[in-house]
Symmetry: D2
Subunit: 385 residues, 4 copies
């Protein structure tokens, strides 16, 4: 029996967190061999060096691809993708995978999809079919149209991919692999580490015993010039609250500097602020931190997915998660300070939300591996209508 | 009133032929300014130097982009696209267009779509929504998902694009601009030039008075290794027919060398063959040649579009045009010599097909220009379901 | 009489400062036309946005090229150069210059040299023939061997270029154009602006009346891992001195993050430090700041060139300027804190150094323009031995 | 004892032929490990698929890099080099060689030199220090300035590299490895194969018993537009001679199409010509063919090197080999038909030239391997004057 080589290209820290259990399941599957490629911001210290976690987790790295172009404009996002195609096509040429996996909808993951599909390598897409409100929207559905297999995270996503003209029997609702980790955390939610000691970071060290908030706000790429203003609203809102705030720096995007600079300027301007800033955290630790928090504030997809499963209240800001299916744990607000403060007030009056299975029950990784071992290998398809 | 800058990226000879009337209409529209970028194989002598025709036709070229990577494998197609993104993003950065146009579904036109959409430039796609049976299928629909405006060539295409989740009011059936030229030829179909004298080429010079066949067969990219075998079947079929054969070399594709080498080997092996080979021809002359021919044989889209309008019999080989709407002028066959010979026999027994308006009535160029002058400028969209 | 098109590619803030008077002289020369290309770190905010100064100085920009690849390793430097060649060859293809100018020896300026020489465009090199102790050494002399004209800054450099096998009559000692600006400052050295008000920056605001030091220390690329340690030595040394310290952030290099992070960590660790940090300054203002300072500390070439002409004491750290001709204004020291402190003590006991003409007398810009208008256009040369 | 990883980048068929014995010696050396990278035209069928010979010879290929950009102009040469840097830096990142070897002076081998030197990998250059009359001249000496070790092929080359400012003890005259193979052929020069049968090719099959000529003429890149005219002169000259002519197609260069098209047009125009055309031949067979020929005509470096050692008369056309040391076997002529014919007449009157050791005695491969195992590993150097 021949073993299928499954090449997964991880281009960012959050993508790694999201598929980690699938990587483990592929590695452990007797009929699959994992070829892990680490690329783009996943290699860069500035964006949290996902590569270090990957190595610590024991995965072997088949190739590294440096392709992030510096720049404060959208041109850099396009060029990063172009360089990615140049590099990944050589990687695929040498690794000769049977199936390539492109993850989600970050702009640079398009490079994975184009290199593989143009080279007639069967392409699987994890987390297609969702809806959001920015450039990711274009990227995600375009990748669906380049892909042969669709490993989606919810029923809504499955329906959407089928409507997009994909064959029914090539669309699989596996749930989201990020829920797999959440399930582990659910089994043992104790905050068994000191985040300050283990992860350092900068800013004030406050006692977390009496509750705390976690903030994670990413720039929204098609609203580049507003990124700074938006984060400032959130900063002003959080300074009014009565609990410690643990703030996570955003990951890379074309608007990254707007958000990051907003935070930096705030720290200069308000040296005595009560926030503590982290660059990153191991996914499991991050979920433990969340499950013990009063709420997550920002626009991270973690708020929509893992937090739904784990019954964590979320104040979701702006349109970044627009259109994604959600549990009852989310309050959606605009970017204004007042709205954010209001939502936090509202949360106090509510009881803890009940957990939701909308993004799966915690066995997505195993399902994905099994499907990859069974699907017919093909790279030729036709629209269904 | 400000004038909109419309940047059209032409990457190949057939793409130019197809949109020429739209280019003229954009140039002449008082509210539009044409920025014409010539790239990829459109610049190369080996593929017919479309750039020369473009200049002879009086268009000003805003930028030239050399991005075709040499190679006998599919990796080169991927890399050509990656380089295209790198280069076109700089071009767009400097030209600052209001709308970018990506034409049809050749693999490298994806570079136009990605560079523009990633840079938040409104993107119009000409000839989306069609169906064929190869890598173009993936490329075409992926570009639809990256595009803001859809200028499609038939009602079937319009319906399909809308099903793909695009907003109804952003999908316009303009007909195919290639029909515009066909309409001019219809008005005066006389073969008013000597193809041997005007275009040279190689091979035997036979009298065309008693009728002749035209062959144009392109490699089918997802069946790379078979390209050579397929063209050999057609060569063997055509050598049996009783009329002169005018054969056009294929344009660039990853399998190009397979087809081209098949033809070259045939010419070596059969030095006395009765074929004449042309590298290329001005589009209008090509249509005049076709309208006076007994039939077109091969897998060119001209057989499906212009020939439908002009009532020219076509033997369409293989699946390259699979799924495209067609008039009654087409007989579809497989790649085998016998099938091709049989279809040519069948044609003799038939009467001339009647003309079809399935790809429009000959005013697509003007319609396209008018739409581009009127659509709201936007680069932000959401799937409709 | 036809006008020669002179294309200058500026890739970094210090390169711009150095050639500014040559750009002006080319622009004003009746037989020359300036084509200014701004590329690499000269476009990036993170490295001081030289492009803004260029525009404020009234130069028209013919093209912008984003080509800096992000990364914490040397691979990024190589890739930045590769992308630069891809992009610049398209720029040259479209601008069709008669002569291209490559400036000095930063790694990415190799892209200018390769694109031009490979395209048979006569190539002029400004500031070849010097000696230093790092990767620049390889880059600089390699560019000499690719260049047709050599516009060097000192007699020592001229001799060296000739020894490298270049034809005597193609090597011109023009002096360094950076001295042209220094000459203007020499004529009016008053510190006629408030650096804190005009340039902001971060850190303590101290009175500059009683004297001050200026620090500018760049990472040394071939000692990547040591960059952080080295800057820490300098930081510790300067905290001991009795005068205000104005510190300039380093420009981009592969080791940049080491140096920058060293400074950032120091600021966190020692929040009450008496330093003020500037990101950048207009060249003329920077020279005025220097001419009124007690000394410049670090490894900037400004210490070797402009400071020699302007009689400014310099403590030159490490080997970055190793081998460059120098005036009597320089004390060379190693990276250790003690050596730096010792040199500053020694300076107090010395009298002001006398000015030196080793890098020219302040008319380099005009000389360069005149030479470019007169040299025979050629791109074909042979080694002289 | 640790084993040194020696990474050799082969970019073209002739480069492979030239270093083959060095590759074998590296592979067999107990302290060295060979990492063979095959790139550029060495991978392309159009240029003789050197990669096939490499595999047949039993070498393991560590990576393949497709980087040849198509085009009929010099821009493509620049871009090919840029892409090469992008790709090779990833290859080096993954292979982590101790020493990289760049071969000779083809334009694209600059990519090897830049990627390695920028990444602080010690760089060895084979065949620096020679003199010719085209773009190679710039490339070759620029690579010398980027290299740490110089493995040159003659005493003249050694002197020149030292004059270029390289340290005496890092310059080694090993002789040319191409002579190693010539020595084997010298030991057994029998033409023990039928070239028509073994290598096919096109054109007339003539009896070779009575003697024959071999032609190999490459385009001269800096005289792009003249390439076609020049090959036509040679074609006209050779048609006058009284012996069979075996003609080898040129390898890739920017002017390639000029030369190739000149030959193709000639074959169309003169269908009855008495020439036989080969695409390529195994190096050893090629030398056997030469040693039994009456003369080699053209501008190949084989005429200067191997033919000197093997006492084969050569008519060397044009300036491609200008300035290279030569034995008494060479008659230099211009490009005119008359000059070529005249030189062939002169040869008939001469006796066989005596063999020359100017390019070594046939042990270069072994010497190179031994030196690579012994040199200190370093990537930091300074010019010697």
């Amino acid at each position: 029996m021949s073993v299928r080589k499954i090449c997964v290209v991880v281009t960012a820290r959050p993508s790694y967190s999201r598929v980690k259990t699938a990587l483990t399941a592929i590695e452990q599957h007797s009929e699959l061999e994992l070829q892990l490629v680490v690329a783009a911001s996943a290699l860069l210290e500035k964006y949290g060096s996902a590569v270090n976690y990957i190595q610590e987790d024991g995965f072997e790295i088949a190739a590294r691809v440096f392709n992030v172009l510096e720049g404060e404009n959208l041109t850099a996002a396009a060029k990063t993708t172009g360089i990615g195609i140049l590099e990944l096509s050589t990687v695929f040429e040498n690794l000769k995978p049977d199936i390539v996996i492109s993850i989600a909808d970050r702009f640079e993951t398009m490079a994975t999809a184009i290199a593989a599909s143009y080279m007639n390598i069967p392409l699987a897409h994890i987390q297609g079919g969702e809806v959001t409100g920015n450039i990711d929207e274009k990227v995600r559905h375009a990748i669906t149209k380049l892909s042969d297999y669709h490993l989606v995270a919810s029923e809504g996503a499955k329906e959407r991919v089928i409507k997009l003209g994909e064959e029914n029997h090539m669309v699989f609702n596996t749930g989201c692999p990020s829920i797999d980790l959440a399930k582990e955390v659910q089994a043992d939610p104790t905050l068994d580490f000191d985040p300050y000691k283990k992860y350092g970071g900068v800013g004030r060290l406050q006692d977390l015993e009496g509750g705390y908030y976690v903030v994670m706000q990413h720039p929204v790429t098609t609203q580049y010039s507003e990124a700074r203003k938006q984060v400032e609203e959130t900063l002003e809102a959080m300074i009014q609250v009565d609990k410690p705030v643990l703030w996570f720096w955003p990951n890379v995007d074309a608007g990254s500097d707007g958000t990051s600079n907003g935070i930096r300027a705030f720290r200069e301007r308000r040296p005595g602020n009560p926030f503590h800033f982290f660059k990153n955290m191991e996914p499991k630790d991050f979920l433990k931190l969340l499950v013990n928090a009063d709420a997550l504030i920002g626009n991270s997809s973690v708020g929509i997915r893992e937090c739904a499963f784990l019954s964590i209240p979320v104040v979701n800001i702006g349109e970044r998660q627009h259109g994604r299916e959600r549990g009852e744990n989310v309050i959606d607000v605009g970017h204004e300070k007042e709205a954010i403060v209001g939502a936090l007030e509202e949360l106090k009056a509510r009881s803890r939300p009940s957990g939701s299975l909308v993004y799966g029950g915690g066995d997505a990784g195993a399902k994905i591996a099994q499907i990859l071992s069974e699907v017919p290998l093909r790279f030729h398809k036709t629209i269904t209508y």
